[in-house]
């Protein structure tokens, strides 16, 4: 099976975020594989081990993403592709990223493309379904189980907590939800092997996609931190009094009851 994983290098949102001049400060911050994309990588590896084939992990980004791609290779992916858009396009949104991914994927004849449910930094969840539509293949979002039987595919997807059992067929794009699997950690031999695995770097020119076609449709005009919350009030006194006070505060001060 030709398995392709869409991976985003994301800001580790456990980190403190600072903004200056309307931009998120990235200097010195930690970057990770988007956690949902780890589920995608793990599932692709398991599908390959069961059905044979190859796992390719691709990222649109800059040189810095090489680190996360190597981690994916160390987990067990076979090949990595970095589409370096830095030189060619300055501004981008989900439309841009998907156009670039579609430009690369259109002649790759993937059987299954696996993406994350959502990126924890940008948070739109658009890229997976947009890519599927661009390629003209079916898309199932937020999956928690997948079984492939020849061309037939049975999927369980999470719909706000309920489970939907879906039947469909290849080729297919899925987006991965928590619960799909437990992503493995790269092993030491895995890390050694990863150094020798192919990591191809491409630019937009290599995709025969001109920049105009990928120009963003949306414009971010400002980024800001939520208003600083006033320090909360820890109630005092014996428990019964605290409970009474809380109930009164929620009614009269917070006005939420």
């Amino acid at each position: 099976m030709n398995l392709i994983v869409l991976m985003k290098r994301t800001f580790d949102t456990e980190e403190k975020i600072t903004i200056s001049d309307g931009r998120i400060q990235e200097d010195g911050a930690e970057f990770i594989i988007n956690p949902y994309d780890e589920y995608a990588i793990e599932e692709a590896i398991q599908l390959r081990d069961k059905h044979g084939g190859e796992v390719t992990v691709i990222t649109v980004g800059n040189d810095d993403a090489e680190k996360q791609l190597r981690t994916a290779l160390a987990m067990g992916a076979d090949k990595a592709v970095l589409i370096n858009s830095e030189e060619d396009i300055e501004e981008g949104d989900q439309y841009t990223t998907s156009k670039i991914l579609v430009g690369y994927l259109k002649d790759k004849e993937a059987d299954i493309i696996l993406a994350g449910n959502v990126a924890i930094d940008g948070g739109s969840g658009q890229v997976g379904p947009r890519v599927a539509e661009g390629l003209g293949i079916a898309c199932v979002t937020t999956i928690t189980n997948i079984e492939v039987n020849g061309q037939n595919v049975l999927i369980t997807r999470d719909v706000e907590g309920d489970q939907e059992k879906i039947s469909t067929s290849l080729p297919l794009l899925v987006t991965c939800q928590q619960g799909l699997n437990e992503p493995r950690y790269p092993s030491l031999p895995g890390i050694m092997k990863a150094k020798k695995k192919p990591l191809e770097e491409l630019e937009l020119d290599d995709l025969d996609l001109d920049e105009e076609e990928a120009a963003p449709k949306t414009k971010t005009t400002d980024r800001f931190m939520p208003p600083e919350k006033a320090a909360g009030r820890i109630l005092k006194g014996d428990t019964a009094d605290q409970v009474k006070e809380l109930a009164a505060l929620l009614r009269s001060e917070a006005k939420v009851i």
Partner: protein, 326 residues
């Protein structure tokens, strides 16, 4: 300039979801004194169209087909495209729900359009429609707009106030026919895991339990409090992982994102991944026996104590309050 905005009405259990009314309110702002059209897709949704109008839509359009009884991306895409072909609107608004999240990027790609997902606010600035949306798991926000072309956005539940229901309001409801065929995915079965009663994503009050709840039975006092307050029960991943409750209750970065008016965290430490799902709640109450727990840093009110003592007392107190206010 006045615009024509299409709002998709989403149903659950045969009723319109609140977020659809919120999207209509957002549609009013986006329309800039133009027209808001409610769109309903399903196998028998006609009776709900007037309700969208009572909440502010100017007219309604329904697409009905037996192949639309369950949501599928292909079926709903075909139905919505038929409406767009006829109406040629300036903008589209959906709720940012499982359905909205699945359908909107697909339509946006088909229409070669931009899309602003998960907006928590909409405003008009110098004649331009600007959306606010959380980024970095709710730790920051951005303002985004679409300069030209179709305006397309999804609205996070519980953030934009719906308009007041107007019983006397009525409008035209027409139907659009579409041939729904060649669906590439089929829904074989739906297994309900979510609790009956209040929808967690839309609840105004959420009582959430963490590992401190200690067992399945430990959730009982939380359920009782939720019942008295007309709220929903949620949980941390800690509680789900320990099998005290179903994953459908999980709130956080990898679970649901909720922004209720009141969030009561019981026995939850306040890990960053949990905060990602609830820190934008309007009022947060923390009940934890550890005075140094991180949850107190985001709480408006805190009680340091044993939840098994505090929660039942709160339930009793609210019972009295509710009885008194009748």
């Amino acid at each position: 300039m006045p615009k024509k905005i299409m709002v998709l009405g989403e149903t659950r259990g045969g009723q319109l979801r609140n977020v659809s009314f919120e999207a209509i309110a957002a549609g009013k702002t986006a329309a800039q004194s133009g027209e808001v059209v409610g769109v309903l897709i399903g196998d028998s949704v006609q009776p709900l169209a007037q309700e969208m109008i009572r909440y502010g839509a100017d007219r309604g359009i329904v697409v009905e087909d037996k192949n639309l009884s369950h949501y599928t991306s292909d079926g709903f895409t075909q139905a919505f495209m038929a409406v767009l072909d006829q109406e040629q609107p300036d903008g589209i608004l959906f709720g940012h729900t499982a359905l909205g999240k699945d359908l909107s990027p697909k339509l946006a790609a088909k229409l070669n359009a931009g899309l602003i997902s998960d907006a928590t606010d909409i405003s008009e600035e110098d004649g331009q429609i600007v959306f606010t949306r959380p980024i970095y798991s709710g730790k920051a926000f951005e303002k985004v707009m679409i300069d030209e072309g179709l305006l397309f956005a999804t609205i996070r539940p519980n953030n934009i106030a719906p308009l007041k229901r107007d019983e006397g309001r009525s409008g035209d409801v027409s139907s659009v026919s579409a041939s729904i065929k060649d669906l590439r995915t089929a829904v074989e079965e739906i297994v309900r895991k979510s609790a009956d009663g209040v929808d967690l994503a839309e609840a105004k009050i959420v009582i959430a339990g963490g590992r401190g709840v200690k067992s399945k039975e430990g959730f009982q006092p939380l359920k009782e409090l939720a019942e008295v307050l007309g709220g929903a029960v949620g949980a941390s991943r800690g509680a789900c992982d320990a099998d005290y409750c179903d994953y459908s209750l999980q709130i956080g970065q990898t679970g649901k994102v909720v922004t209720p008016d009141l969030y009561i965290a019981c026995g939850i430490s306040g890990a960053i991944q949990h905060l990602a799902g609830m820190s934008n709640s309007k009022v947060i109450v923390a009940i934890n026996k550890d005075p140094d727990a991180d949850i107190f840093k985001v709480a408006d009110y805190g009680i340091v104590g044993d939840l098994f003592e505090v929660v039942p007392m709160l339930t009793e107190e609210f019972k009295k309050v509710k009885a008194g206010s009748l």
